[in-house]
Symmetry: C2
Subunit: 415 residues, 2 copies
């Protein structure tokens, strides 16, 4: 095949290849998430990335744009319109509505799906990312709201973040609706009411004085959103739990149409990255799309891309270690049978052992072990097989230790 | 919203919703796979389900059909032709070619991706399934072939299968090529040579005598495929490992074009399900699509759908248990604060505890715990809070045991 005809080795635009080190980091992120959410009683579900396109059309005007311009939607060969899910909430609402009578409430569900957006790739935004989704169905209790926020808080702490590293800002759809009523009473046009929402979302992106002035102009008078009783109570429950970084923020709006009560966002407090990391809220009517008897819900979604940035800036990303304990190298090619037998023996005893087949020089075998960041090396030579004594080399420190064949497994497993 | 306008709660055709019990089974399957492959030194990678369509076009004639009729291929909004991967091997070959100089060989990689085929859903075949992929790059050693087959064998055993439950049948592209040469020498037409391949694949689907007769007719003479030296050696290595159910089977062909050496399939020996479960083989030229210096590879793919069937028929599917240790119920609604505090305390100590917020009658709270198959229940009442003694009920046996508050965590964690 000529060079010209070779295929590109690049991944599709805006998505990632996960080589072992990147995948290990993703596995670390998901394992921390899992352990926190399972501690609070959440159980895992999953669904296909393929959904009927109508699932995203139904939610109303605000989402039209998302469906029409930002999703991967196509016709399958049978003429069905299919979308690669841009978010998980409609899917989980569909699944809960489908089995409402069997599931048992309150119902705690989590999933770590990949979600797709067709948008220009940029820092913190890719076309595909992985997103923890945590949802609690069948409760209208403010304790449920507090629990969901507490889970988000618990995950941040489990990653090693200090309370000062992030801030939980609570908003309220109720407060925003009360404001809207007030503005309608003041005869503020719907156009200006829309402009107000956009301005609320611009907090931190312009001077605070200027913003307030503009808000008052648009509102035909004084402008203030006051904390509602439900938010006060949610904050009280959280503070009983020891959470001190949750505040009311009238500027929290959140894009999705389906929220009906509390909404929240978790902000990075780092000066170089002061932005919303993720968020969620209460959505009590979403399953009404499918079901006569809607099931209330509250939850959040947390993406891996922004989380990686958050951890990297603070040095909270753990170093890579492969699952492999030891690399078994071969001094000369004809000893591969002996090395194979040793590796088989170690594996039998529970050691994760990778074997070289002796097709390259010993120096190159060592390089492979180092490139793979495997912590220990054993070189199998004639003497080692004859004496049943093996030098175990620590590839980080260079230290060597000679062990009898039957001591090897215990050495690796007691690390 | 009127009933008429409600959205369907069904998943897209041919894909599955994974409710907690189904997801727990998938998690069980993948955790067994992981532990076996990591024992042999494999490390995990991953990639997006979106790939450039050309990746599947390039492999040649036999795959044209797959690309044209059986894939999900569509144009993105930027006019790029995108395919939902139908298999993982082209992706991993692309990734290895992209970083050949950095990766270090031999390189052991595994992944558990979802793969898509556009086909009529039927037993054992869905439009999306999850598939373990295990690949070893950079070795031409027959020990590498044997290792890959040994991993497949080890996974079957780790699921509880006996050697008599399955059979490993080894074929050889070399043997098939030798046959082809022989047939060309006999002036067998290319049309008849193709028919012969199809007949080989039909073993077990027609009478053996009839098949042999037809083969001899098409071959203009005696018809036999003899075991090659490489297959003999691979079987020897495997038998040293204790594998006794690997045989040479001249009828093993396998569909993919990219195989160049050993090929194998694992067959279910159950009379009601006597068919190929999964398979793989050696492909030494695949990365030549991307790279001047091709890297040899050998590997296999194992799908979750056929595996589930295999395990179910033999009663090897483990029963569902949620990760949740205990359900904390509330005798009367006003005690939710006390129950919340108890749940928080248990979680702090490492217990996975789900909490009811007291919005339903106690009987309904119990039903929720049972539906979720949570093994233990605690009911928080006035007396319990006052006395700090809690009855722990085993929801399977109905047994109750009263424990002091500070004994609870140890009870659940020492189960």
């Amino acid at each position: 095949m000529s060079k010209k005809e070779r295929l590109s080795t690049e991944a599709y635009k805006g998505v990632r290849d996960f080589y072992p080190e990147e995948q290990a980091l993703l596995n670390y992120l998901t394992s921390v998430m899992r352990s926190v959410v399972e501690r609070v009683g959440y159980v895992e579900y999953h669904a296909s990335v393929l959904e009927s396109a109508e699932l995203y059309r139904a939610k109303g005007a605000e989402n039209e744009e998302l469906t029409n311009e930002q999703t991967y939607t196509f016709l399958d060969r049978g003429g069905r319109e299919v979308t690669l899910r841009p978010e998980m909430t409609p899917t989980v609402a569909r699944m809960v509505a489908a089995k409402r009578r069997e599931l048992g409430f309150p119902l705690r569900l989590y999933s770590i799906p990949n979600v797709f957006r067709y948008e220009r790739p940029q820092k913190g935004r890719l076309r595909e990312h992985w997103q923890l989704n945590v949802d609690l169905f069948g409760s209208r209790s403010l304790y449920a709201d507090a629990e969901i926020i507490g889970v988000a808080y618990g995950i941040m702490r489990a990653f090693g973040a200090k309370e000062s590293d992030f801030e939980i800002r609570l908003g309220s759809r109720n407060a925003l609706e009360k404001l809207d009523m007030e503005l309608i009473n003041r005869e503020v046009s719907s156009e200006n009411r829309k402009k107000i929402r956009v301005l609320l979302d611009k907090k931190g992106k312009m001077s605070e004085g200027e913003r307030q002035k503009e808000l008052e102009q648009l509102a035909n008078g004084p402008f203030e959103i006051t904390e509602t009783a439900d938010i006060v109570e949610i904050r009280r429950i959280l503070s009983d739990l020891g959470v001190t970084n949750a505040t009311f923020d009238p500027n929290i709006v959140r894009g999705f149409d389906y929220y009906t009560g509390m909404i929240f966002e978790v902000f990075d407090t780092h000066p170089s990255n002061n932005r919303s990391l993720f968020g969620g809220g209460r959505y009590d009517n979403l399953t009404a799309l499918f079901d006569d008897e809607p099931t209330p819900g509250v939850g959040f979604g947390m993406g891996d891309v922004t989380l990686r940035d958050f951890l990297a800036v603070r040095g909270l990303t753990p170093p890579y270690r492969p699952p492999t304990h030891v690399y078994v190298a071969v001094a000369t090619p004809e000893l591969v049978g002996g090395a194979w037998a040793l590796a088989a023996e170690l594996r039998q005893q529970g050691v994760n052992a990778a074997l070289d087949f002796g097709e390259r020089k010993l120096g190159d075998q060592l390089k492979t072990a180092s490139k793979h960041k495997i912590p220990y090396l054993i070189v199998v030579g004639q003497n080692e097989i004859a004496s049943s004594n093996f030098a175990v080399r620590n590839l980080e420190t260079g230290e060597e230790k000679t062990l009898a064949r039957e001591q090897l497994a215990a050495f690796f497993l007691n690390l």
